[in-house]
Symmetry: C2
Subunit: 137 residues, 2 copies
Amino acid sequence: MPNMLKIFETVLYSDNLDAAKTFYSRVMGLRLLSQNDLMLVFSIDESYLLIFNPDKSEVAGRLVPSHAARGQGHIAFTITEDEKKTWRARLADAGIEIESEVRWDDGARGTSIYFRDPAGNSIELAPPNLWTYLKNP
Amino acid sequence: MPNMLKIFETVLYSDNLDAAKTFYSRVMGLRLLSQNDLMLVFSIDESYLLIFNPDKSEVAGRLVPSHAARGQGHIAFTITEDEKKTWRARLADAGIEIESEVRWDDGARGTSIYFRDPAGNSIELAPPNLWTYLKNP
């Protein structure tokens, strides 16, 4: 059995990379490493978030295999309870509407904040211990 | 500025969760924490891979916002150079065809191995230093 894998690249799609660039850089505060008409590359801790233009990534004959998903994808980032207030203010300042907040197990597992990126992908700011009960049942 | 985010949940979609369960558990070796007709939850290091049935996740009125992407998504995991041989054998044993291998910068940045999950999502086993040149230009 090989060593356990680590997630290296997480991918979302957007048909407007300029809007995605502004959102993920300025609102989410991620570090943009590279941009072209195919994709944006953001650095996060030891991993990467790649935002692809699906019309460019769904092309046979590229160096790498074709891929593209359309619709409203989903990603979750972790924030601590202490950071929730800052994030609510940051989203309000940016004019980003909070779509919903979910208190898991009446708050015992924390609260998630949901909103959308410009492409409609569902973004979640989740409590770090959301799934811990499954790991240590 | 809030603290830097960490990616907590990476999401792919599959209309056959049984096939996804077998693939990600047995071939990829991920730890399955939970399964139902909506999703599979896999634990990876300090993050999670969620595989959703898009017909179940794209529903208004769920506790959490609707999301669903259709097509062939993409995810990359890191493996070290030493693990490549083991992974090639593992994929061969499982009858998984390697779609392509890409030597980045003639191998200076390592080699990526690409194949598909049962839903057609593009899976990459990438060298850990693939993007390092962008972080430390």
